[in-house]
Symmetry: C2
Subunit: 456 residues, 2 copies
């Protein structure tokens, strides 16, 4: 029996049964309850007498054991792997060919809160975040098998409560972990605003030697359908082994448990309220496809930065006086005037089509620009590229000083402008930086196949 993190009574029981991680085992407890699944290694910090098994639904559970518990091996890991090679699904090929603990890539997991490690609040029945590194390692022991894990709780908030000033703290903690030798960073984050925060880091890390993988869960980890474990394993794999050094969002790639996708932080958007594969790349392709239980990462796009090439270089800081304003028919000019009067320094418009708003807004926008407010145009269509030279309204807006946002997502243009305005007070310089592709947020050519296929 390899120890695989087990001690005390759990280790004695496993040795007696001759069970090794990867074997399918049956646990019969002294209270009569029976559990069957694949034995997982345990890299938790606590010494509680728990044996971790992966159930057939893919969910890991920790089974509390005592001296009266009986364990038997139902099928060895060799037999399971043999079946896998013959086409049956393999639960744990990850367990093969790993360097020993202490020799694995060093990955730091930063906790910020969110469903990824949330628990049901029994008083109200609602789900509340309860994130600690120990809880994560206990719930998802595979993580400890891929990498030598350290962790830090940066904050513990629901991601709808995230704001630009908090992005700065996450940037600082990630930079500190890299300076201390982390070979990859995982940021566990609520899914609601994960794409915003991930793109904030993509702008702040001007030089980045290792990957930073954001990860979340659409369903909390106490539900059998939770995607927390699968996503965390995939994100840890990206942090530990990906050949690129970019900020990505790693989440389920489809409704099942086959693969995850690593989306470039400046191209990703949460596109569904509840599906596991809610996160999708817009106007581009995901950077990589990840088969977490096979330990495999397939590149799907050319990385912008390779691992280990760049020195760490952080330009931190986000301006909070930036607004994202979605245009709608009849929107009144006083909304723009209000932002200018309240001292906003930047406005990202989410216009219609190629980048338009009602012509009655042009004068207020011109006034905003004259007062030094930086105004950027994006499109509420999400796909495609702003082009303000085609129609009269676009040309009037350009004349008023609006900066066309190319094919940037509105949310990403908002984060980019917030970052830019924290570092320059010169609107011309801000305009120049907005038009420049700094972190993959602008792509100068699209191919037809980047548009999804819609059901009909």
């Amino acid at each position: 029996m390899e120890e695989a993190g087990y001690t005390g009574v759990a280790l004695r029981l496993l040795r007696r049964a001759g069970a090794r991680p990867g074997d399918r085992i049956r646990i019969e407890r002294s209270d009569g309850r029976v559990f069957e699944g694949v034995l997982m290694p345990r890299y938790a910090i606590s010494a509680r007498p728990i044996i971790v098994v992966k159930l057939d639904n893919g969910y890991n559970i920790g089974v509390r054991v005592d001296e009266g518990t009986r364990i038997e091996v139902v099928k060895t890991r060799e037999a399971i792997l043999h079946e896998a090679a013959a086409g049956a699904p393999a639960a744990v090929p990850l367990l093969e060919e790993q360097p020993p603990p202490g020799k694995r890539p060093r990955v730091t997991i930063l906790g910020t809160g969110g469903t990824i490690a949330s628990k049901v609040e029994y008083e109200t029945g609602a789900v509340r975040p309860a994130f600690s590194a120990e809880e994560i390692l206990e719930a998802v022991p595979e993580v400890g098998f891929i990498a030598d894990i350290s962790s830090r709780v940066v904050m513990n908030i629901l991601s709808e409560n995230m704001r630009p000033k908090y992005w700065e703290k996450i940037v600082d903690e990630a930079a500190k972990a890299i300076q201390e030798g982390a070979e990859g960073i995982v940021v566990a984050h609520g899914t609601d605003t994960m794409a915003y925060t991930a793109s904030a880091l993509a702008f702040a890390f001007r030089g980045l030697p290792v990957p930073i993988a954001f990860v979340g869960a659409q369903r909390s980890s106490d539900r059998p359908s939770s995607d927390a474990a699968f996503n965390l394993v995939a994100a840890t794999l990206v942090a530990a082994r990906a050949p690129f050094a970019e900020v990505v969002v790693v989440m389920h790639g489809e409704a099942g448990d086959t693969y995850a996708l690593a989306h470039r932080a400046t191209r990703v958007r949460k596109m569904h309220t509840s599906r596991r594969d809610a996160f999708q790349t817009i106007n581009g392709r995901p950077l990589a496809k990840i088969y977490p239980f096979e330990g495999r990462i397939e590149l799907r796009d050319k990385p912008l930065r390779e691992r280990g090439r760049e020195e760490l270089h952080v330009v931190n800081g986000f301006e909070e006086k930036v607004a994202l304003v979605k245009y709608y028919p009849g929107m009144e000019a006083e909304l723009i005037d209000f932002l200018v009067d309240r001292g906003y320094r930047g406005i990202v418009l989410e216009g219609t089509g190629l980048g338009h708003v009602g012509e009655w807004l042009v004068e207020s926008i011109r006034r905003a620009v004259e007062q030094g407010v930086v105004v950027v145009m994006t499109s509420q269509t999400l796909f495609g590229r702003v082009n303000m030279n085609v129609y009269t309204t676009g040309r009037k807006l350009l004349q008023a000083g609006v900066i066309p946002g190319e094919d940037m997502l509105p949310e990403v243009a908002f984060v980019k402008l917030s970052w830019i305005l924290a570092h320059t007070h010169d609107p011309r310089e801000a305009g120049r930086m907005l038009r420049e592709n700094l972190a993959g947020e602008i792509t100068y050519r699209h191919t037809l196949d980047l548009y999804p296929r819609w059901p009909h």
Copy 2:
């Protein structure tokens, strides 16, 4: 020679050549220029000596002719149809099996402006709308072949300049045309805000006996790649013959010229700045697939209202004091306070994930509700359904009086609230109507296959 709308010199030339609509002809003008294509019928109002041919790129042109012009038939329509049956593309099977003019379904085309009939403004190089019914019939003679057309220019604006008060005028004109005997309505509209206007009509027509098909063009009709003709033929076909009596948006279904889709007005969104297939149904399926040149309409979803079942019943009116507010990290509460102070009666929030905003906004939202403002929650993910019972923030917002918008698109919730608040001053009644499915804008169950397939 069937007359097919030709008179004077054009008719004499065609008779001399023995050319009939649907034949492939070659026109050699006295100035030496040669044109080859399929002879189209002509239902224009002007008497100019023009012969309309469909070029191989699918674009119709009007060739000015005189007595010195020579015309020959290159291939008869029977030969073309025979080839089509053998697999080659058929340009004009529509020309077969039509009732004679005066016996065709009566369709009224309402012009509101937009690219569908725009022309290049030569001074600036930009495209400006120039819509008249005559111009449409001259450019797209197939329309006159499908239906007995009448038309009316309701307004001539770029659709980014559309506003709720203008929706009322379009409702009135469509109702008037139906009262006068139209068996279907086509509304030619700029694409930028077409989905908003279409959903406005879906709410205003509480009883509707005929289809109303909105149509636009992503590329102006003086460009060979224009989708104007294809879309207008498809929309006219829907207006003339569809078995449903719903408000739909009819636009290209894919990048080529194979089929168009009729999207339910309350489910459609412009999803790309420039593609022909920019319009897509979200959280549902398109109502029908249309093969305009085969005259075929295939249903893809169950109609909510069948043609000819209901009496016309219009409840017109839209409140302009309604705002659509997209949430972003750090959004300040003063933006909500400002709307309340300025007398807004309704606010549609485009929140994150299942329907959240930063908790620091809850107090301002509660104050808004207490002052009688109706606040609705939708999601910026677009796909999926708001569920405010899962997390603490959602529950706090519900307690503050926010109405969950189910699976309504943010833009549709905005239009619906504008319509509701024009007809009731009771926030409870408004809340009740918001939760009710009035025009297909709420669907109580989704199937997994409604989510698009994303490229990776």
